[in-house]
Every structure is written in C-alpha cells, then in structure tokens.
C-alpha cells in the first residue's frame, strides 16, 4: 500500500501544490521588513477604527504605524504554527528512533547473556523451560514456512484477480469486486485466526492425513487470503498505469486480449507486481494473531506444513501472555526476536520500494 502512494507523490499532482506553496514564502519575509499588504485580520481591525463602511471595502493605501507591530506579531505566529506542525511531522522520526532504541537497548542486554552467534545459528528455542536454548532458527523457519504457504496462495490468486480487474472486468463487476476485496483486507486478523481454527483446519484434516489441530498449513492459507487483496490492488494499480497506447499498439499488430494481457501489460507492470509480492510476503512474516491461533506455540525446525510450529510473532505474544518479570532473560528475549523481525520486514519493505523505483517503466 505504501509503495504506490509514495510513487504517486512523484506524480504530476505534486507539482502544482509545491508551486502554490512558494508564493507565500515570498510573502513571509517581505512583511517583516516593510509594511505588508493588508490581511484579512487587519482589514477587520481597521474597519473597527475606521470612519465608515466605505473604508472596509477599500482600505487606505497608507497603513497606520501600528500595523507594523501587528505584522511582526503575525509573522511570529506564523512561525510558531509552522514549528508546531513540523513537530507533529517529526513525531514519526521519533517513533522510528524509539523503536530502534528500545529494540537495540534490550537486545544488547540479552546478548550479554546469550552469545549473538548462538542466537543466530542455534537450532533449539526453549526459553521457557530448562535447559534454556536461545537459537532463533526454529522461529525464523516457522515464519518463513507460513510466509511461503501464504505466498503460494496469494501470488497466483492475487495476480489473477489483478489481471481480471484491470483487463477483463466490466465496470459493474469491478464496482462489486473491488469493495469485496477491500472488506477482505479490512477483516481483523484475530477473526482470520478464528476462521482458520474452526473452518479451514477441519477441512484440511478431513482430506490430508496427519494434519494436527494446530498446523502451519492452515495458518499459511488464511494469511495468504489476508494478503491477497494487497497483491491484487497494488498489481492492479501497476497494470492500470500502463498506457493505453501500448495496448492499442499490440491490438493493431493482431494480438488477442490474452496476448496483450500476458505479453504487454504484465511485463510493462512487472516492477509494480514484484514489489507487491515483496510487500505482501513482508506482511505475512509480520502477521501475528492468525498464526498464534492456528499454528500453535511449538518452536519446531521443520518444513512439514502439517505440524504445529511457532513464528517469531507468536513467540512474542506467548511471552507477553505469561507472567514474565521485567528484566528477566525471557522478557529480554522478546526484544531480540522483535529486533530480528523488525530487521527482516524493514529490509523487505525497503527492498520492495527500491525495486519499484529502480525498475519502473516511465511513460512520458
């Protein structure tokens, strides 16, 4: 979602706004040195002092002296407001700094107890019972397994939806299908968890032998459904942005609609499509509640989707559900896992947005 919005910033709309902002900057400093043009405020105050209503409409060209002070006050007020607004914008930087500082701070304390190499390469994760092992690989494997299953579901379905919506769907179908996808994207993840547990898992158990009550497959399937709308809408945006001339050129050469969709539109929109995949997988890795409910709480270094596993996010939830004292090694472990999760998802998001920019076809 963020990627296309950001790219749109570079679009033509951004231009006029910036232009509009500039004249006022010129007005600001000017009013400081010499008498400013009458503002709405001053017109009103002048009118109170002024002799008649005629003055209201046409202010005297020579301004009284006290308006200079008023102008200075106004300049200061303008600056204060600008400063306050900037503070609100800078809060986002503070948030990022806060996340990084908190994660790194507690992780450093954690890594004083657990060697960082053991954390990154260990294959056993048993922090809540003795003997404690802090190897994060089972959790990473759990997250990756769920994300791979989710991608296997969401990429073909999302891409198919995007092609249909952008190339085939009549207007009426679009008007129904797009809101449905939006609703699908807006359903809370805990509801997906319930759906996985009470609907998807029983179905999977009925025809796949060996599927447990809690299993990675069911979690992966619902997470896939959850990120499907993201792929569909970002990819569709990318496809709709392909200029009509390209399509018409292909039709003129005798291409069928299928050939236009698969050999012209899809390659032209490829950077947006791939970026949507990356962002969707990143979201699948960060997904929490559906995985907690459906995949269970068993750190398990396995590739078997029928087994119960634990993801990085699920471990963090498990610890905070229990009575873990502040400052203990278990408490600090959630920050180390959180740091790993943050680095992985941030890396994917940055890569996805870079990919979008780097390989975007620009049509003049």
């Amino acid at each position: 979602m963020t990627a296309d919005r950001d790219s749109r910033r570079e679009g033509p709309e951004a231009g006029p706004d910036r232009e509009a902002a500039r004249p006022s900057e010129a007005v600001g400093p000017a009013s400081e040195t010499e008498g400013p043009g009458p503002s709405v405020d001053e017109l009103e105050s002048e009118a109170e002092a002024g002799p008649g209503p005629a003055e209201q409409v046409q202010p005297a060209p020579v301004l009284p002296r006290r308006s200079l002070a008023a102008a200075t006050a106004r300049t200061w007020r303008e600056r204060a407001i600008g400063g306050a607004l900037f503070t609100a914008g800078a809060l986002s930087i503070l948030t990022t700094v806060g996340i990084v500082v908190v994660l790194v701070w507690e992780s450093v304390a954690f890594f004083q107890r657990v060697p960082i190499l053991e954390f990154l390469t260990g294959t056993r994760w048993t922090p809540l019972f003795l003997p404690q092992h802090f190897g994060v690989l089972p959790l990473v494997a759990g997250s990756v397994l769920v994300a791979v299953i989710a991608a296997a579901i969401a990429i073909p379905l999302g891409l198919g939806s995007a092609v249909y919506l952008s190339e085939y769907a009549p207007d009426r179908a679009r008007r129904i299908l797009k809101p449905v996808l939006e609703v699908l994207a807006g359903i809370p993840t805990v509801v997906y968890g319930y759906f996985a547990l009470t609907f998807v898992t029983p179905i999977l158990r009925s025809f796949i032998p060996g599927v447990g009550i809690f299993n990675a497959l069911s979690a992966g399937v619902v997470v896939g459904i959850m990120v499907l709308p993201l792929i569909a809408s970002l990819s569709e945006d990318a496809m709709s942005a392909v200029p009509r001339a390209l399509r018409q050129g292909a039709y003129a050469l005798g291409a069928t609609k299928f050939e236009v969709a698969t050999r012209v539109v899809t390659p032209a929109a490829l950077s947006g499509i791939v970026a949507s995949f990356i962002l969707a997988i990143s979201r699948a890795i960060g997904e929490t509640m559906a995985v907690v409910l459906a995949a269970g709480m068993t750190p398990n270094l396995t590739l078997d989707p029928r087994e119960s596993i634990q993801t990085m996010t699920a471990y963090i939830v498990q610890v905070s559900l229990g009575d873990t004292p502040f400052g203990s090694i278990e408490y600090r472990s959630i920050f180390a896992v959180g740091l790993a999760l943050f680095v992985i998802t941030l890396g994917m998001n940055v890569f996805g947005r870079w990919f979008l920019k780097r390989y975007r076809e620009v049509y003049a």
Binding site: S39, I99, Y168, Y194
Partner: protein, 301 residues
C-alpha cells in the same frame, strides 16, 4: 437472404483455426482469472457464514450487559465493549490532530528538501512495520518508562500505542485529501493577502475535511481490530469491570475474541463467534460511514 445463408456467410468470414485456438486460450485464461477473483469473494462469504452460524444464537441482550465468566452461558462482552469504546475515543483524540498537523506540514509547509524526503520515506516505512513491533515499543515506553503518568497497563497506554500504529495510515490519507485541493484555491487566498496559516486554516483544511474524515474513519477501523500490540502492553483478558478513567486496566473486543477462541470448549468458540459478529458490525458500519461520507462530499474540481 435467408438466415441460413447469413450463417454460412459468417462461416466464410470465420477466423482461421490458428487464430481461433489463440482466442480459445484467451477465453480459458479469462475464466481462470475470474475464478481467482471469485476465490476472494467465496472465502469472504464462507467466513461470514461460518461466524454467523456459530455465533448468532449467542447474541442475547445479556451478552452485551454481562462481564466475562467461566460459565459460557453467563459470559458477556460488557467490559470488552466499554474498553473498545474507551480506546477508540482516546485514539481518535490523540491521532487525529497529530495526523492532520503532520499532513499539513508535509503538504503545505515543507519544501521539497531532504527533511521532507526523510520524513515522508520514514512514514511509508512505518506503515509497513508489523503491529507487534509497535506493541514492543508501547510496552517499553508507555507501560514501563512512562508508567507513572500513563498508569502502566492502562487504556491510555493502549491508546498511545495504537495511535502511533495508525498515524502513518492517517497521515498518508490526509495528505491525499490535502493534495486534492486545487492550487487555484490557495493562490486566490494568497492573492487576497492571506498568510500561509490563514490559507490553510480557512481554505485548504475545510475543503480537504471530508477526505481527511474518511481517511480517519478507515484508520480507526483498522485500530478497532488490532489485537497483538494490546496483548503486548498487557490488556488483560479477564476483566470484570468497566474502565472508569484513562489510567484504568482494560480489555477490548479482539482480545476477548482471542481469549475465547483459544479455549478448547465449543461453547467458548460460539461466544467468540458472537463477539466477532459484534466487532464486524462495528467495523463494517465504520467502513460504510466512510464510503457514504466520501460519496456525499465528493467534489470534482
């Protein structure tokens, strides 16, 4: 000319077999794509039906007025419902002014310089941070560090955490609404001698307001379903009272749902389904309100 002749005439004009094969392939592809789209629709329908079938019988008046209980027949969502309302009001009060102010700064005040680029990129990245990471931040900053002010594991800590979580969404939506106000309006205001803030206050914001409101409601509808960050900051799952102030402990609907859904007994699963119905009704009416506002105040410049 008879109908048969016309048909045979058509036959003469028919495409060569090679082209027909290509067209057939296209038809198959179209159906494949349509089915892919319909999977989403079918799953949504299955989800709604699953929840309705399980939960609708448990939606009694007592369900709304009772506190959670170990006996399923006597359990209700009173504390969760109040907690959700408390949280939503606080989140709206905290995030709306901050989000709009940040959007105004980015769109109207910031020039196209590196500060603006850094903040804009940062907001886009924050929108992609998993919600549980915000939970970790909230736990360390609002619950632990600012505990004496916020009251620790309180509804205020939860609201601050969720506000940080939805701010990027809100800012991006508000920016789009502000950007949609044509520059001629600003130029006319400047032309009359208005200062930048007067222009923003009296012209840009009123014109962008419906769009900002729509974006805010959609951001809040994301907030109402958030679970993981609130579990992190310790919104308790068993609360038999209603929060009296922002520093009180609380629980919310999604956490109550999680609690019930993770129990093995069927009765609690049905309670979870009933609570999901309530949550989805709240959420979908917020979405409907946002869409209605968008259509009612849509202006084509």
């Amino acid at each position: 000319m008879s109908a048969a002749e016309i048909r045979s005439g058509r036959a003469l004009l028919e495409a060569p077999p090679e082209l027909q094969a290509r067209r057939r392939k296209g038809k198959v592809f179209q159906w494949v794509c349509l089915s892919a789209t319909l999977v989403g629709v079918v799953v949504l329908a299955a989800l709604l039906i699953d929840v309705l079938v399980d939960g609708v019988a448990w939606l009694t008046p007592a369900f709304f007025t009772e506190f959670p209980s170990r006996i399923p027949e006597r359990a209700g969502i009173k504390s969760a419902l109040y907690g959700t309302i408390w949280l939503m009001v606080l989140v709206a009060v905290i995030s709306f002014p901050l989000g709009v102010a940040a959007a105004v700064w980015l769109e109207e005040y910031a020039g196209k310089n590196w500060v603006q680029t850094v903040i804009q990129t940062n907001i886009a990245n924050l929108a992609g941070v998993p919600s549980i990471v915000y939970g970790i931040l909230g736990l360390a900053v609002f619950v632990r560090w600012m505990g004496p002010i916020t009251g620790g594991r309180s509804v205020l800590s939860g609201a601050l955490t969720i506000s940080l979580l939805i701010l990027p969404i809100l800012i991006i939506a508000a920016q789009e609404a502000i950007r949609a106000v044509p520059s001629s309006i600003r130029e006319a205001s400047y032309g009359l001698g208005a200062t930048k803030w007067q222009t923003v206050r009296h012209h840009v914001l009123p014109n962008a307001f419906p769009g900002i409101l729509t974006g805010t409601i959609l951001a809040l509808s994301r907030a109402i379903g958030e679970t993981a960050p609130l579990i992190m900051i310790g919104a308790l799952t068993f609360i038999a009272f209603v929060p009296e102030g922002p520093r009180d402990a609380f629980t919310v609907l999604p956490i109550q749902i999680f609690n019930w859904a993770s129990r093995p007994q069927d009765e609690f699963r049905y309670l979870a389904a009933a609570a999901i119905i309530v949550l989805l009704v709240l959420l979908l009416s917020m979405n409907a309100l946002a869409i209605w506002l968008r259509n009612k105040y849509r202006r084509d410049w």
